[in-house]
């Protein structure tokens, strides 16, 4: 029997609508342990469909959907942010501290603990470095602007954009570079604001 093709395909990236700031979660981890995940909030992912982009927010038992029709998407924007860099600096400092401790401490039990913590924080640092710089992504339509929290790493955002962009261009046509200059000045009365697109020609 032929399998039905799925209606949606998942884009890379998962984000969370944190109930408290992520750095507070890091501090609370040392107090509450794994239970700090209760503050993580809804998980957000992006899925591409035939005619629209679907943002799915899930708490495991309920899913909330937001649809962005490819015809209506006006702008996809990415901004490089610093939390990834800050995390690298902090984790790097901690790793250095434990390297020094593991050299200085002569007690075998203390040295064991130092190596253990060094391994743990070193792994976190490695993961953060490999995931690349952090970013903020936004999608804009005529009626709303939404933060795409699932695209929180630059590399993931670029991959996702590379998938979404052809779908939008297939629906709207690609933008003529000359017409892009229109938005830098206020529209003149009576002037049409519809740019020529390759789909029309």
């Amino acid at each position: 029997m032929a399998r039905a093709t799925p209606a949606y395909k998942r884009l890379p990236g998962t984000g969370y609508h944190y109930r408290i700031p992520p750095w507070t979660m890091l501090l609370l981890f040392f107090v509450m342990g794994i239970f700090v995940l209760l503050f993580r909030g809804r998980r957000t992912q992006l899925w591409i469909g035939k005619e629209h982009l679907l943002a799915v927010e899930s708490d495991g038992y309920t899913e909330h959907y937001k649809r962005f029709d490819y015809r209506d998407i006006q702008v996809l924007a990415v901004r490089k942010t610093v939390p990834g860099l800050i995390a690298n600096v902090l984790l790097g400092t901690v790793v250095l501290l434990f390297i020094v401790l593991s050299i200085v401490v002569e007690d075998p039990v203390g040295r064991g603990f130092s190596w253990g913590f060094l391994g743990f924080f070193g792994l976190l640092l490695l993961i953060n470095v490999l995931r690349g710089p952090t970013c903020q992504c936004q999608i804009r339509t005529a009626v709303q602007t939404l933060d795409l929290v699932s695209l929180n790493r630059l590399r993931t955002a670029r991959k996702a954009f590379a998938t979404i962009k052809p779908m939008i261009e297939q629906s709207q046509g690609s933008l003529n570079p000359a017409s892009a200059t229109i938005f830098s000045r206020p529209p003149v009365s009576g002037e049409t604001s519809q740019p020529p697109s390759s789909a029309e020609s």
Partner: protein, 186 residues
Amino acid sequence: MDAQLNCLKCGGQLPADLSNRGDLAPCPHCKTKLQLEVFPAFFRSPGAVQTGERIMIEGESGCFYHPQKKAVVPCEACGRFLCALCDVHLDGRHLCPSCLEAGQRKQAIESLQDKRVIYNRQALVLSLLPILISGLAAIYMAVRYWKAPLSMVSPMRWAMPVALVLGILQASLLLFILVAWAVTKS
């Protein structure tokens, strides 16, 4: 709308040459690195609002909701005649506002659904909980919501049958424990 782009950080207006470069470029105001992909919809002006034409000739079909306006299309769900104002075009179908509202309320129109309760995952979690009584709850969930709509993106069709089987196993175990306890006591 005014065709202008603003920086995501400082809110300053961005120049045109910053868009569609395919790479990060600094904002001229705050130097934050940005990448903007602008599409033709950004320049599209909002279309004219359809208000519906008034009936000019006697005998012309009128709209069910606005009898003085000319009917242009029937609702594909209930067959009522609709004017241009009442005609809602959705997923290639022409619907009237009542059918649209009913469809949204009864979750009959998939493209209008903005929330789904994922009962099969709830049943599966209940069946996996190491509390014997949760097996009964899993059986109830599986039977009661067997036909409930699944997740749009990851349906997990296997979850409900698995939950039912595990629930039955848990319930059987509970029954066995109760019978064994009763026998031992008597």
